[in-house]
Symmetry: C2
Amino acid sequence: MATGHGARGRSGGRPTLEEVAARAGVGRGTVSRVINGSPRVSEATRAAVEAAVAELGYVPNTAARALAANRTDAIALVVPEPETRFFAEPYFSDMLKGVGAEISDTEMQLLLIFAGSDRERRRLAQYLAAHRVDGVLLVSVHADDPLPDLLSQLEIPAVISGPRSAAETLTSVDSDNYGGGRSAAEHLLSRGRRKIAHITGRLDVYGAQRRVDGYRDALRDAGHEVDESLIEPGDFTEEGGRRAMTRLLSRCPDLDAVFAGSDVMAAGARQVLREEGRRIPDDVALVGYDDSAIARHMEPPLTSVRQPIEEMGRRMIDLLLEEIADRRPAASRGLERRQVVLATELEARASS
Amino acid sequence: MATGHGARGRSGGRPTLEEVAARAGVGRGTVSRVINGSPRVSEATRAAVEAAVAELGYVPNTAARALAANRTDAIALVVPEPETRFFAEPYFSDMLKGVGAEISDTEMQLLLIFAGSDRERRRLAQYLAAHRVDGVLLVSVHADDPLPDLLSQLEIPAVISGPRSAAETLTSVDSDNYGGGRSAAEHLLSRGRRKIAHITGRLDVYGAQRRVDGYRDALRDAGHEVDESLIEPGDFTEEGGRRAMTRLLSRCPDLDAVFAGSDVMAAGARQVLREEGRRIPDDVALVGYDDSAIARHMEPPLTSVRQPIEEMGRRMIDLLLEEIADRRPAASRGLERRQVVLATELEARASS
DNA sequence: AGGTACTGTGGGAGCGCTCCCACAGGTGAT
DNA sequence: ATCACCTGTGGGAGCGCTCCCACAGTACCT
């Protein structure tokens, strides 16, 4: 019978558990135990099985395992953005680096899924409904995104980077956006600047709001009034940075500093400042956010708030793996809402 | 028994084929036929099954399907490079865009796998041995890479972008690197340049060699001798472009044009030219390759050879899906070696 | 009337695992 | 000697599909 199976195999006769068992002279269960690293196997048996595995070049069939054990050993990194943004923003590549590094210590497989268009989102919903992954990492989620709710409804473990609001129910990892915004403003104040403008990120991103909060509180705590006309919403893009800067200059020609909610927006702002003949930092000091490659290569080099993005990626994986392992009758889960917040650091350069 | 199964389900009772069948009052096989779009089902039955599927919110279990049908409905895009390069070079993002667009018309799932380090490569080998994908897309492969051989040994359908050599056995899609190199050189000649240097890509990449061949032949055919000291190997990176340009200038201070094997290298070359006080294009004309965003944003805008990279991605998927569908006793395969070559186009800008 | 050839359908027999129960054999307390 | 309780092991019973054989029903030829 064992030979029957082997001969019938459709794909060039890959060895099965059963064949390994026969070869090692043990039962199927024992081989399974060895493969899965169970401690309940004697040393001698383990060695025999391992020899058989090596001789036959046995590799477990993932589909069979997934079916029997009801798990996939895969997790998805879901990016609810079009590919374009993913490649344009260093945020994602750093995140992916951290995630990749951490997950490579495990047997888990990482899938990268873009869900920018409506069509892609529908596919993603199908995909999740089919339980094709054990867990989901969600990055860059907007306030009104239904994805997190779908996830908890399907009872799929998930970790979000950048909570949607202060009341986020999902486990989350974030950097200290409030502190980052605050340190940017404090830095500019300490350099003697007084008319400090702020180009915000998309305000439906919670982190962008928090940066504004930090900026506001820093000014206020230093005894300044917050001039709302110095706050201009942006959208994280270079073009958005240009537009915001243009508006700010026409509204408040005497500003002496700009805190941009991202390096990319700072790059856009810089172009406009140049075109208008403002010198950086002499006339206008400029501070960005992310401390990406752009910041280091800008002329002059851009002061920027660094988020430990790789570290965030690593923490997200850790938390997600815990959630997956913890999976138990829903009742005992979710008691402690888990939120990790990592510190940011301001990197001072010539632009301020 | 049917209820027994359902009640025992571990994951919140997702409906099974069997349950859908019961609901629709048909047999298991019939539901399977409907799900898989077989034409051998009557209209009435099909409608009944579809209703049952909708009512129960049935989603097929991929693991069970994979096990029974011995396919995974997934293909991998394997990048034998560290993540860093993947994000640094627009080549990959364009490719991914084409691939993503084309595959989104299908039920196939795309996995992105990096295999830069030795460790990652070992994992990849395991992964492929486990037959976790139906096919593989291979981009940016070096001449001595063992991956393609592993793939054919495992009989996994694969398409390579950029053949490893003229004798590539795998199905391949490529742009006309020879023609591209040729057109760059011809363009510079037509602009009256005579001392045309070439910074090559990594010469273990076949396409980079072909560009050199095209460059050489263009000069020769125009009646010029090829001055080998004007050819300097690069490595596709900005830093490599800088280094190569520095060497070229010290060796041949009177060169009047540079053809760089990639836009990124052209950017590096441009920096050096600037530092040395050479004006572009007045003193030295510069031509890049890839026609990426860098080229358009450079100052002055960079003349560059455009490869239809998205199109290449699309063709790769088409070919791969054919190979997967064609899968039959190895004998009848591989008779016709399939190689698609797409035309390039020179985009002339102010740098030349 | 019998034969042949369809179309549409039901359901058995797997696919290669994991889970878990059963059980042998050892060890130590009673 | 009896019982309890370990450790290590074998193998049955699934997991939810697909594949394919069998067969009912209809249609159209001889």
